[in-house]
Amino acid sequence: MLTATLRSLVAHKARLAMTGLAVVLGVALMSGTLVLTDTVGRTFDSLFASAYAGTDAVVRSTDVVKSPFGQDQRAPIPADTLATITATPGVAEAEPTVTGFAQIVAPDGEPVGNPAGGAPSIGGNWGLVAGLNPFTITDGAPPANAEDVVVDRASATTGGFGVGDTVTLLTARAPRTFTVSGLAAFGEVDSPGGASVALVTLDVAEDLFTTPGTVNEIGVVATSGTSEEQVVEALSAQLPDGIEAVTAAQRTAEDQSALGQALGFFNTFLLVFAVIALVVGAFIIYNTFSIVLAQRMRELALLRAVGASRRQVTLSVLGEALAVGLLASVIGLGLGALTAIGLRGLLGAAGIDIPSTSIVVSPTTAAIAIGVGTLITLAAAVFPALRASRVPPIAALRTVAVEPKPPVIRIVIGIGVVALGVVNLVGGLTQGGDAALAGVGGGALFIFIGVAILGPAFARPVVRLLAWPLPRLRGITGTLARENASRNPRRTSTTAAALMIGVALVGFIAIFAASAKASIDQIIDESFSGDLIIDSGQFVNGGISTDLADAVRVTPGVAASTGVRFLTANLDLPETSTPAGPTGDAAFVLGADTTALSEITDPQLTSGRVSGLELDEVAVATTIAESAGLAVGDAVTARFPTGERTLTVTGTFDNRALLGDWMVDLATADAATVDRLDVQVWVKVTDDASVITVQDELKVVAEPWPTAQVLDLTEFKASQAEQFDQLLNLVYALLGLAVVIALVGIANTLALSVYERTREMGLMRAVGMDRRQLRAVVRWESVVIAVFGTLLGLLIGLFFGWVMVLALSEQGLGVLSIPVGTLAVVMVLSGLAGVVAALLPARRAGRLNVLTAIGSE
């Protein structure tokens, strides 16, 4: 039997190659994702290790604030802690580290780096203790006075400047110019992970990045003969409450695990697309095996007739699947490294910069890629294999099998699976975190499988309806294409189902994005009565100094204005079951001039007072207050990067879409943060001023901050839409692979059909069909299948979009917008894709030798 399996494999190389291709592509994306994540992880692991290479211990605050995005913020410590440390036995040297946001502006006025979507823009102090400073000067000299800055070599190259040039640093303080005194390398590389780095003297750093007299942490070098643990133990005995000492090893491990977590999100995001590609691949494997085994029915029956058991037939088919799966997975893994490079480019195009280093293929990646690829192939072949084993020996004597009508049980099961999917989907959307992902993903998968199970039941009438114009437009070739597309409903519907998946997701994303854009427009139109928005283009990694908001406030023609910033806080709530943020009680709190805010926006007050908030007063979104059990007058304990504060609830508001969940005034915001950086400045102009005039004036005011864009509302909406589009294009590109795999599936099915119909094609050629007409028959069949799959996909995508908007209406996704134009383009493209998928099979059909064809068995 093994011999039979192997012979069969070798005898159908082309067919195997096509089947395998579907697996290869899916596995390539999956291993590419894993390789990319491993590579990035390895890069940063070594980066963090070298950052603390010469350090033995780190002294820091015990106050930690978790961010909803997983980046912890730690409170600064008094600078005079240094004295306690140096006096501790076992300490050889110690030096404070001060870090913060610093955007470098090159001499030509262009900002360097892309902190919104890539490595951060870091500022800090130049370490004087060689062992504690991971940077080495490669040109020029360290900063000697308050006007000097040392910049990483990569930024100098990008910005096109060098030693002696003047650069500007944009920080939480006023923009300040410096002379580049030197360029530095981070260990062996030009920049730590692509971050831009500006290092100044300690005094200047304290001034720019912390409140004077405080530092972020203090690095310690132990005396020789003292271990990391010993020096930490000695320090712990001396340090006051609220300040701790940890080993450099622990500090490195923390950074690495924080990054691991961040990479985890990223990994999951990309793996979702790999899984989609693999599921589509599974459909194609299932279909190919089904068709091939139906074609080989007589051969299988002959095997049974000469004494092969059902078990042997099943195992023979599964053996074939195992071989295909294994081989394709290995090739896919090999392509994974290339895919990783492609993915990096793709993410780069979407504004997410990933440092380029050598590719890491870990044994885990190899094991996962090969294991998953092989298992999916096997799983997809199980049903066809079982069906093959049921071929009775007598079938060897019969001619072609007729495809049975789908039994009622199939329809019942199909509807059941779809219903299960819908329940999961809806359930997932009402939950948070991993449960949501599992629910939505599982629900979508069930819906796809359910529709695929139902497919054969409705494929015939629907395909005939879709192909209705063909005979009228294309005559006999149209009739033949329509008949061919509807003669094997199971084959057609499974082939179409593979395409359906990719298209459904594309359609869903398109609807989601259009709805999100429409919702943003609606929020701005309905509840934003301001006229201009100054946008920093950043969110958590930086912003604009509050100096800009101060300057805006006194600009002529400005009636009301406020800087808007987001504070990271950890809240202790009376009831913990709150959807405050993705990581438990970590939340963003909006900080703004609440008096001005009430003039510029409509907070949609529901109780108490939400404007003119005093120090340590907080306003809460109504639904959050309800779920957390908070009412006006209640106290909330909030931990901010500067320490714990008790906030009093003064009022509740409904406009969560614009203002978020929590809101405090500037006094509280100033007290709660070290880095005072506005994300945006919202402006309302006076009644008698022209918006354009004020906009021009504000552009002048904002000139020192080249990252700030002064936008009117139309421009702001457009810039938001642009950000969506960028992400959208990334998602489309990643889904594109699933669509390509589905097209391979269509080509595969058509090739098998052409092979199967050799005789009738030969007959048609004999009685006068020319090659062009024969190719057209294959091509139109392909177009019909593609359009059928696309139609199914768009309907499902529409349903997904509708459910999504229902579920998220309260979070600001209030408008269901169907991008009819985009969906029409998808439809037309799919028709064209059908033409492309038919290219090879049609060519093969056209090349058919008439005599051989009519003579063939």
Binding site: L763, R771, L851
Partner: protein, 257 residues
């Protein structure tokens, strides 16, 4: 032009016949060197208009190859083939296709019909491919002749073998081709259905003036023809006017000698 020179038998007709198709010194060689097979080895022959000609011969005699070459399905190694005044060997693939579509009818042994098309659609297939409207009156007459009026909406899988062959004959007749080539048209049928098909073909020649060339190894089938050509080893070895089953059988037996 009108002679049938290298045929060995006596001339069948008193006056020179008009030829619908003819072959001159047709040679067809398959393979090269040791594996070389001369399927046709210098065949010259003609097929008279409005006549029913049978090509007879044992397996491997080249009778099917001759038909394929005259019908534009296969090309000659050397020599020439004419359909009416058209020389086939100089035609390109596309022109051959159009020639088969517009000027030739085919009836094969089996798998004559496109399974996805109804009987009616199969009958009009060549004309549909050409984008021509079938002549309604003629179609009706053909359908009546082969007795398929009540089966037109059926697909091949819903028809018996004999009915399928009748549809095939109807298709061949429907486009009023200059010549119909039938390749063992009764090979897969029982004797009754076979006799029916042969009867239709005979009537098509007698009543409609159709030209038919049939390849067969069945002496009874040959008995329906006006003339039988005998091939052996790629050469025409004999010819028989007004053949009947017995005489043909006798002649065939001699091939075994």
């Amino acid at each position: 032009m009108t002679t049938t020179e290298s045929t060995t038998g006596p001339a069948a007709d008193p006056q020179p016949p008009v030829l619908a198709a003819r072959a001159f010194d047709a040679v067809k060689v398959y393979g090269t060197g040791d594996t070389e097979v001369r399927a046709l080895d210098g065949v010259t022959c003609g097929f008279e208009q409005a006549r029913f000609t049978a090509i007879m011969g044992p397996s491997g005699s080249g009778k099917s190859t001759l038909m394929h070459c005259v019908a534009g399905l296969d090309s000659l190694t050397s020599g020439s083939v004419y359909l009416g005044d058209t020389e086939l060997t100089s035609l390109r693939e596309r022109e051959l296709t159009e020639l088969r579509r517009d000027r030739i009818g085919f009836v094969f042994q089996a798998f004559n019909l496109v399974p996805t098309l109804t009987a009616a659609e199969n009958i009009s297939l060549p004309m549909d491919l050409a984008g021509r409207k079938p002549d309604k009156g003629w179609m009706d007459e053909v359908v009546q002749t082969v007795g398929l009026a009540d089966r037109l909406g059926h697909r091949p899988s819903e028809l018996s073998g004999g009915q399928q062959q009748r549809v095939a004959v109807a298709r061949a007749l429907a486009s009023q081709p200059e010549i119909i080539f039938a390749d063992e048209p009764t090979g897969n049928l029982d004797s009754r259905a076979g006799a029916e098909i042969l009867g239709f073909m005979r009537r098509a020649v007698d009543e409609l003036g159709q030209t038919i060339v049939m390849v067969t190894h069945d002496p009874i089938a040959a008995g329906y023809a006006n003339r039988a050509l005998f091939l052996a080893d790629g050469k025409i070895v004999d010819e028989m006017a007004a053949p009947n089953a017995e005489r043909v059988l006798d002649r065939m037996k001699r091939f075994g000698d």
